[in-house]
Amino acid sequence: MSSGEVRYVFVNPAARDRIEACPDHSDLPTLPAIFTRLQNAIQNPSTDAGDVARIIENDQSLTLRLLKTVNSAAFGLNSKVDSVERAIALLGFDEVSQIVLAASLIHSSPQSSKGRPFNMEKFWKHCIGVGVSARVLAQHIDGLPKDIRQSTFTAGLVHDIGKLVMLQLFADDFARAMDVCRMEKCNLLSAEKIIFDFNHCDAGSYLLDVWNMPRDMVKAVELHHSPEDLIIEDESYLFVALVHIADALTHFLEIGSGGDPFIPEISEQAWRTLAIPEKDVPRVLNTIQQAYQEVYKVIFS
């Protein structure tokens, strides 16, 4: 799953048109510069682990966040990772650059909710929780392909980034959607659809498409509330199902808040696809809680 693929072209046109027509379009969250530098370096065939490590090590605080994240329970590594080169050797270029993206995204994203009743701290806690949950679930799935495993943390972290897009570009309408959600006691997804005619999944997949992120990740963001919109044979289904279940477990554990007080509808088919034994569920939940505490401290330090 490299980021050099053909762009995903099925982003909801209603979302694309409204976002691109917005006068504040330039306020869209941007990819952290270091991630772009890493992607350019990785695509150069002569780049080795030392070259990539040096790019990351130029930022000491980022290096520290990367190493602490990699050493957390979310990644389940048997030995302590004490250098960026070692992290690359164990996880590969792609996963390390994805963790760098995750670790730098929160710091480079707007922290203001533009005066609207949307709690940014709880929002990022929820996003980190889903990233951690997705990575922990990945450890419990036998035979999960490496290219899926290495994108789980980032996909979880960015799954709700469409809310940030809506908040930044359409703050008043987004606040109205939250009001509808509160007054009608419906989920935010339905309220967004009423107000915008598209939802945060559409807005998020638009942004990831603009960022030229891997197609599977764009699909996971677009379909994290509706995995049943994909046929089970689709090559992205497992990845989408994993992010969907990670979101549900994070809601269940009450880690942060994406602005929605209810546990989203859980697809039984998505759960069955992960093939995680029932007896493992309490252990998975405990690991998520432990890993979340570690990663949260690292990313917000």
């Binding site: 209810f262 989203p264 039984e268 029932e278 569920v281």
Partner: protein, 67 residues
């Protein structure tokens, strides 16, 4: 071992003991809270069933520890 019975053994008291210790009013309150939380999940199979059970026990234990 099922998810529910594993939840029992981690705390000392069995799930049934925890639930039996509740008054009917407490049980009704917990059931209402769980139903509200899972309002978009009407099914009682698979993961939803496990999570509903775990949440019920968690709330019951919280009530127990508040006594």
């Amino acid at each position: 071992m099922s998810a529910e019975s594993e939840a029992e053994s981690s705390s000392g008291k069995s799930v049934q003991e925890v639930l039996d210790a509740l008054t009917p009013q407490q049980r009704a309150k917990i059931d209402a809270t769980v139903s509200a939380l899972f309002r978009y999940n009407s099914g009682e199979s698979g993961l939803v069933r496990i999570l509903r059970k775990l949440k019920t026990v968690e709330l019951a234990r919280r009530l127990g520890s508040e006594k």
